[in-house]
Assembly symmetry: C2
Homo-oligomer: 485 residues x 2
């Protein structure tokens, strides 16, 4: 299509997006469609001749919206929220309209250099330890990954490589294949499923240690597991500690764990702060990361809470050479004159190609400012101010004695269940039934979880259109449905 047509079509799309967000409250959060619904709405093959943009736009409601789960709807409390901000959308336009693929410094110097500066801006705004800042001229720094899983994969593989190098230097007669089966990764049973997934991909055994009733991994549990493994000739390789676990938003004790990894053993400590890391932008939440200075790597999904649209996951490492050594493959066509003195981010990630992703961080940080991000984060969190949405919802629940808050509400997640005297299994069955009723009702959308054998409902606040009215409505639905179980 021609530039003039593009201008008209883009203007129409911008209006569509503005209206979508303005009137999102009128849409049903979770759709009624059945599997396979879209085959009947679309042709069997692509059209031979191109259609007008008006034809395609008219199909957005008929085809796309019919089966959307609306992540920014006020009735959406299912997963940690997906960021949506206008500054990030503007940057996405620029990123797509003036394209470059920044696999090396030379492939687009701006793309690489802005990323290093933005990762430093973020590290300073989050008060991360200096070892994670590029500008300090140490071996550390930050990089944009797609998701937390990719951050987990590159760090676990770097740790694998580090251990293999260390063991080979101690005993050159070994093969890497002798060392791999001895490696062990530790994490808690409240950690994200990506730890297990990455363990399978890396072929490293993963121990899911008990985080107990409180959902917190502590010193003794970890040290006992390490001691037992070492007796069995295993090699503790990598610990993933979580700040803000997905099922219950609890915090592993990074201070205790870090001391073990750094002072007692020599283990890569990765901090998965995909969700809760955003809170570090507010000084009053920084205590959750006490001891972070002993971490080897730190990950935060900007696309959850920091107003940068998916995908944008920040990974900071203490020593980038562990990343770049683990899969550094070169080709002549990728070489350039300045590669000794510049960063080639392709060696910090799995893919070769990469977008100019720091543009959207730059737009958000400049247009929103640190103050603006702090206000955004505080809006949903449990703070002294009276504006916190999650705290508001917690108070609604606490007023009804039939319900129980299962974990402390510290950020944007509220975990609750119906109480029933007697066996856990009976109480779980009642809450499972409550969940089914809520799903069938369709006015709100949430998902359940299980920790330490206790089944409960998760209400994740913080989507861009969350409000007290939305939370009142959510609570009305839960109470109404609870009458039916």
């Amino acid at each position: 299509i021609e530039p003039d047509t593009f201008r008209i079509a883009a203007t129409a799309m911008i209006d569509y997006i503005i209206n979508y967000n303005k009137e999102i409250g009128n849409r049903q959060t979770f759709p009624d469609v059945q599997p396979g619904f879209m085959r009947n709405l679309l042709r069997a093959e692509a059209p031979k001749v191109g259609e007008s943009w008006e034809d395609v736009y008219s199909d957005i409601e008929r085809v796309v919206m019919q089966g959307m789960t609306h992540w920014v709807a006020p009735g959406f409390f299912a997963y940690f929220p997906a960021a949506l901000s206008f500054p990030a959308l503007l940057a996405d336009l620029l990123c797509g309209g003036a394209p470059c693929i920044g696999f090396s410094w030379a492939a687009s110097p701006s793309c690489t250099e802005m990323e290093t500066v933005m990762m430093d801006w973020l590290a300073k705004a989050l008060d991360l330890p200096p070892c994670f800042i590029h500008g300090r001229h140490g071996p550390g720094g930050g990089v944009i990954q797609g998701t937390a899983t990719e951050s987990m994969l590159v760090t676990m593989i770097a740790a694998r490589n580090k251990v293999i190098s260390r063991e080979l230097s101690r005993d050159p007669k070994l093969s890497k294949y002798d060392i791999l089966p001895r490696m062990v990764v530790y994490t808690s049973d409240c950690s994200h499923s990506s730890v297990e997934k990455v363990g399978l991909l890396s072929m490293i055994e993963v121990r899911k240690l008990s985080a107990g009733r409180k959902g917190v991994l502590r010193r003794k549990t970890l040290q006992d597991a390490i001691d037992k493994d070492k007796k069995n000739n295993k090699i503790p390789t990598f610990v993933c500690a979580t700040l803000g676990t997905t099922p219950c938003c609890t915090y592993d004790n990074v201070d205790e764990i870090g001391r073990i990894c750094k002072f007692i053993e020599d283990i890569w400590l990765h901090i998965d702060a995909a969700y809760a890391g955003a809170a570090l932008i507010c000084p009053e939440f920084r205590h959750i990361a006490d001891g972070i200075k002993r971490a080897t790597s730190f990950n935060l999904n900007l696309h959850k809470w920091l107003m940068v649209n998916f995908d944008c996951s920040g990974l900071w490492v203490r020593d980038s050479s562990y990343l770049t050594d683990s899969a550094n493959v070169n080709a002549l066509f990728l070489e350039h004159q300045t590669q000794q003195t510049t960063i080639d981010y392709r060696h910090w990630q799995i893919p070769l190609g990469r977008r100019y992703g720091s543009l959207k961080i730059w737009f958000v940080l400049c247009m929103v400012g640190i103050d603006g991000l702090q206000t955004h984060v505080r809006r949903f969190y449990h703070v002294r101010r009276g504006v916190a949405e999650a705290k508001y919802f917690e108070n609604l629940v606490r007023k009804d004695e039939r319900f129980e808050i299962v974990f402390p509400v510290t950020l944007g997640l509220v975990c609750l269940k119906l109480k029933r005297p007697g066996l856990n299994i009976e109480e779980n069955a009642i809450n499972e039934e409550l969940n089914r009723k809520i799903q069938a009702d369709r006015r709100i959308h949430l998902v359940p979880s299980i920790v330490h054998g206790i089944y409960f409902l998760r209400v994740a606040t913080g989507s861009v259109n969350c409000s007290r009215q939305a939370l009142d409505n959510c609570w009305d639905v839960i109470r109404e449905m609870s009458q039916l179980v």
Copy 2:
């Protein structure tokens, strides 16, 4: 920022993009900046208070454009082109402005279902074998990956898992760690560096077999390597055959290789058609993929030649259970009622989260049509019609007897070198000097390559603003610089 401000800012950004592309010919393709330039252009920390969008926009020229390598400039011939199309930009807007993270069917049914239908539309448009089509109700189908490297990683790990399962079923006393060191991956020495990189990540040994002077992997070379390995108790696991190699755009003999992988041995055959796969949309190019019906998986980067902006890499597999079995980790919060009958694409990829990426395929296929894509592809390729840009450039080179075309020009890549009688090493040195002169001159940007010890220059046509004038200019620069060596 408020919706009304967003509308104004977005309109300004759209004009910026239109003008950027219209006047790209006035920009220097490769920038003059030195490493570290951007630190001096940006503050040391993010602003405390948000700025206006006008402030940020005024920095686009001052900061971003100063260090851009302009991939869509008419002087850009360095890498295979980055797609840029207005329909894809419109879809990106919708994808960002009405966000969903489609890790499961329930997380957004439209996101998953449109992807299955779009991958089928593409498979039909490219005339891929029926085993790769979802709608045929076999175990095969397509999925969007970020890049060709990620496609390589998920398929190589699936092949690893398949071989481990097979060997364990033959001898249950084995451990997977006994089998891994015996596995071998085969590819040619003209293949993309991602094969080696993924081999390192997967810890599988990679054999780079000689593609010879013609850059083509043939039957005998592969069979000899397999036979030798089997004698040494190795397990041939995975073959990556390339259609359109990065250094020289040659085609491995998929017909011969497929017969070995399917009939003689039992080896996963992955076709890396990241670049040349787009040509299959034109019937006259489909002979390059003869024998593709025996492939296990097939990959094509839509973000190179099919007008879909980065990132969008299509992967088709014959049997998706190999993907889903290799890293299937579940969590209660990800479960949903229809998971037995629907696709959860998170099991087909490394990350958990994923964008609604099929929107941009849908927009491009509908607004451009198959005819439009064929015209786009034919514009640059060597065809009967008189419009092919690469053929035009080849003819310019062939008229100058000091130069030689190094590989047949079949699609959009022209490989050339200055001829010098005598030793290869002397000829290489002269062409290296020619490359340095061209880089220093800055009017055009290209990169060199080496195949079978021969150093040459690559001119990759096909960027969205390529034209005869741009090619005339490119040839003028090369000839002018050749006078100086």
